[in-house]
C-alpha cells in the first residue's frame, strides 16, 4: 500500500487529482477521496441536498407534481438571463422566477374548483413555455453570451465553496422546518383533497405554499446536479421508495437514504473517472429506480399468486 501523505497547509484542487487510481482496497479508496477539500465540500453539499430533495421530492411524487417541479427547474433560464440583463447575481433571478412560476401554477391549479389533470398539465405547460419565451427574449435583449451556462445546466459539483455549503445548509434547514410545520395538513390535502377541503383544510393555500417550497428545493438541488438533472435527486429516490413500500414513514426514510446513496455512489464513481458527475448521479438514480420497479412488480406477482383461489374476486388493476 502506497504511503499516503496528508496535505497540510497546501490546498489541493481538482487539478491535483487528475489521475486517481481505483484499487480493490475500499477503505483506501474512500480515504483517497476524502483527502481533498473540494471532494469533502462536494460530499457535504450533496448530502444536505439529498436529504432535502428526498423529503420534498417524496411529497412531490405523492402529489403527482413532477411536471411542476420540472417547470420550476426551467425557471433558471429566464432567471439567469434576467439577472444578467439587470447585472445582479444569477441566483437572485432564479429564486425570483421560481417564486413567480410557483405562484402562477398554484393560482391556475386551484382556481375555485378542482381542475382535471389534463387541464392542469396544459396550464403547467403554458407557464413553462411562457418562462422559456421570456428567457429567450432576455437573452436576445442582453445580446451577449451567458457565462457559466454549462454549469447552470449540468451543475458544478466539484466547485462548491465553503460559503455555498453553509448557504445550502441554511436553505435546507428553512425548507425542512416549513415542510414539518405544514406536514399533517399537507399530507391530508395531498392524499384526499376533497375530504380535506370539506374538513376546512386550506387546500389551495397549502398547494401554493408547497410549490414555493418545491421551488426552493429545486433551486438548491440544481446547484449540485445542474438544472437539467435535478430529478436524479428529486424524483428517482422518492419514486423508488414509494414503489418499494406503501407505509408513509418507511418510504420517507427510504427516500432520504436512497438519495444519500445516489450522491455518495455517484460522486465516488465520478472521482475515479474522467466523465462528469451528473452522468453518474443520473445513472445510479435510474438503476435504483428500475430495480425498485422490478422488485415491486415481482412482489405484486407473488402476492397475486399466493392469494387463495376461492377468495372473493379482488378488483385488481382497473377499479372503475
Amino acid at each position: 500500500m502506497p504511503i499516503r501523505t496528508t496535505p497540510t497547509g497546501t490546498v489541493r484542487t481538482p487539478a491535483d487529482a487528475a489521475h486517481p487510481t481505483l484499487s480493490w482496497n475500499v477503505a483506501h479508496d474512500v480515504a483517497q477521496v476524502l483527502e481533498y477539500h473540494f471532494m469533502l465540500n462536494a460530499l457535504l453539499a450533496g448530502s444536505v441536498v439529498a436529504v432535502m430533495a428526498g423529503l420534498v421530492g417524496w411529497v412531490m411524487v405523492l402529489r403527482r407534481e413532477a411536471f411542476a417541479g420540472h417547470t420550476l427547474s426551467m425557471m433558471a433560464f429566464p432567471g439567469a438571463s434576467a439577472a444578467a440583463l439587470a447585472a445582479v447575481p444569477a441566483a437572485w433571478g432564479y429564486f425570483l422566477f421560481c417564486a413567480v412560476g410557483a405562484t402562477a401554477m398554484g393560482w391556475r391549479s386551484g382556481a375555485g374548483r378542482r381542475v382535471s389533470w389534463s387541464e392542469q398539465s396544459a396550464s403547467i405547460g403554458a407557464v413553462q413555455a411562457l418562462a422559456l419565451a421570456a428567457g429567450f427574449l432576455f437573452v436576445s435583449l442582453y445580446g451577449g453570451v451567458l457565462g457559466d451556462l454549462e454549469n447552470l445546466l449540468f451543475g458544478d459539483l466539484l466547485g462548491v465553496s465553503d460559503g455555498e455549503v453553509l448557504l445550502l445548509v441554511a436553505v435546507a434547514a428553512g425548507t425542512l422546518a416549513a415542510l414539518a410545520a405544514l406536514g399533517r395538513p399537507l399530507l391530508f390535502a395531498s392524499v384526499d383533497a376533497d375530504v380535506a377541503q370539506a374538513r376546512g383544510v386550506p387546500v389551495r393555500a397549502l398547494s401554493l405554499a408547497f410549490l414555493l417550497l418545491l421551488g426552493l428545493a429545486v433551486a438548491a438541488t440544481s446547484q449540485i446536479t445542474g438544472v437539467l438533472l435535478v430529478f436524479a435527486l428529486l424524483v428517482a429516490p422518492a419514486a423508488s421508495a414509494q414503489a418499494l413500500t406503501a407505509r408513509p414513514l418507511a418510504s420517507l426514510v427510504l427516500s432520504v437514504a436512497l438519495g444519500l446513496l445516489v450522491v455518495w455512489l455517484g460522486l465516488g464513481l465520478a472521482y475515479f473517472s474522467i466523465y462528469p458527475a451528473g452522468f453518474f448521479l443520473t445513472t445510479v438514480a435510474f438503476a435504483i429506480y428500475v430495480l425498485a420497479r422490478l422488485i415491486s412488480f415481482a412482489a405484486g406477482r407473488t402476492r397475486a399468486r399466493g392469494a387463495p383461489a376461492d377468495a372473493p374476486a379482488q378488483p385488481t388493476g382497473v377499479i372503475d
Binding site: 403527482r64 420540472h70 389533470w117 398539465s121 403554458a126 413555455a129 419565451a133 429567450f136 451528473g278 438514480a285
Partner: protein, 277 residues
C-alpha cells in the same frame, strides 16, 4: 414581408409544424400528456450527441431517441394508468414520475456523450453540428422547410386517421378495450408519433415552439369547443394563427425573437380562453 426568402421558408415550415402541434396537441392535452411531449423535446439533444459520438448522421440519432423514448413512455405510462385510474378519464396523471426519471437519465447520458464528443478527436465539429441542428425558424433553408412541412403534414394526417379510435380509447379506455379497440397499442403508437413531431419540430423550429404550440392552443380549444372534431380543427387553427401572428410580429420588431413572439400569442390565447369560459 413575403419577398424575403427566409420569411417564406419560415411560413411554410411554421404553418405545418403549428398545424401538427395543434392537432396532436389536442389529444396530448386530453390524455394529460403535455409532460411527455416536453420530455421528448429534451431527449432530442442527447440523441443527436450520441449519434455524433458514434459518427453517424445526427438526424438518425435524434429521431431514434425521441421515438424510442416515446414508445417507452407509452409502454410504462399505460401500465401505471391502468393501476391508478381512480375516477374519470383525464383526472389521472399520466405517470409523471416515470417520465421524469426516464428523461433525466437520458439527459445524464447526454452529459456523458457531450464529454466523450468533446474529448475525442472529431470533437468540436460534432458539438457544432449538434448545436446547428437545433435551429431557429428564421434560419431554415428551402429544402429543410419543405422537409419539415412534409413530415408535419404526414404526422397530422396520421393523427387524424387514428383520431376516432384514439378519442374512444382516451375518453373511455375500458369500454374501448371491451369493444376490441387496441387501446394499449394506440397509446404507445400515439406517443411514438408525438416523438416524430417532437424530433422534427425541435430540429426545425426549436424545443420552445414545440412546447408552446402543443399545450396552449389545444388547451384553449378544449375550453372553447365541446364537440371533439370541431375542437381539433379549432386547436389546429389557433396554433396556425399564433404562428402567423408571431412571425409577423417578429418581422416587424427585429429585437423580438420569433419563437418568443409565437409562444406569447399562443399562451395569450390560452389565458384569454380561461377568462372567457
Amino acid at each position: 414581408m413575403l419577398s424575403q426568402e427566409f420569411m417564406r421558408n419560415a411560413l411554410l415550415a411554421g404553418t405545418f409544424v403549428a398545424l401538427a402541434c395543434g392537432v396532436t396537441g389536442w389529444f396530448v392535452v386530453l390524455r394529460g400528456q403535455v409532460f411527455a411531449g416536453d420530455a421528448l423535446s429534451h431527449v432530442a439533444f442527447p440523441g443527436a450527441l450520441a449519434a455524433a459520438a458514434a459518427g453517424i448522421d445526427q438526424r438518425i440519432g435524434l429521431f431514434v431517441a425521441t421515438v424510442a423514448v416515446g414508445a417507452a413512455i407509452g409502454a410504462l405510462g399505460r401500465g401505471v394508468l391502468a393501476r391508478d385510474r381512480a375516477s374519470s378519464p383525464g383526472s389521472s396523471p399520466a405517470d409523471d414520475t416515470a417520465i421524469g426519471t426516464v428523461f433525466t437519465f437520458i439527459l445524464g447520458l447526454g452529459v456523458f456523450f457531450l464529454a466523450r464528443v468533446s474529448t475525442s478527436s472529431a470533437g468540436s465539429s460534432g458539438i457544432v453540428g449538434a448545436h446547428t441542428l437545433f435551429g431557429s425558424i428564421f434560419g431554415l433553408t428551402g429544402g429543410e422547410a419543405r422537409l419539415a412541412a412534409a413530415i408535419a403534414l404526414g404526422a397530422t394526417a396520421l393523427t387524424v386517421a387514428i383520431g376516432r379510435p384514439l378519442l374512444f380509447a382516451s375518453v373511455a379506455p375500458d369500454v374501448a378495450a371491451a369493444r376490441g379497440v387496441p387501446t394499449r397499442l394506440l397509446g404507445i403508437g400515439f406517443v411514438a408519433l408525438l416523438g416524430v413531431v417532437a424530433a422534427e419540430a425541435t430540429q426545425a423550429v426549436g424545443a420552445l415552439l414545440l412546447l408552446g404550440l402543443l399545450a396552449a392552443p389545444a388547451a384553449a380549444a378544449h375550453r372553447l369547443a365541446r364537440a371533439p372534431f370541431a375542437a381539433i380543427a379549432l386547436a389546429g387553427g389557433l396554433a396556425v394563427a399564433a404562428m402567423w401572428g408571431g412571425l409577423a410580429l417578429a418581422y416587424a420588431i427585429p429585437s423580438l425573437p420569433p419563437s418568443t413572439a409565437v409562444v406569447l400569442i399562443a399562451v395569450g390565447m390560452y389565458y384569454a380562453s380561461t377568462a372567457l369560459a
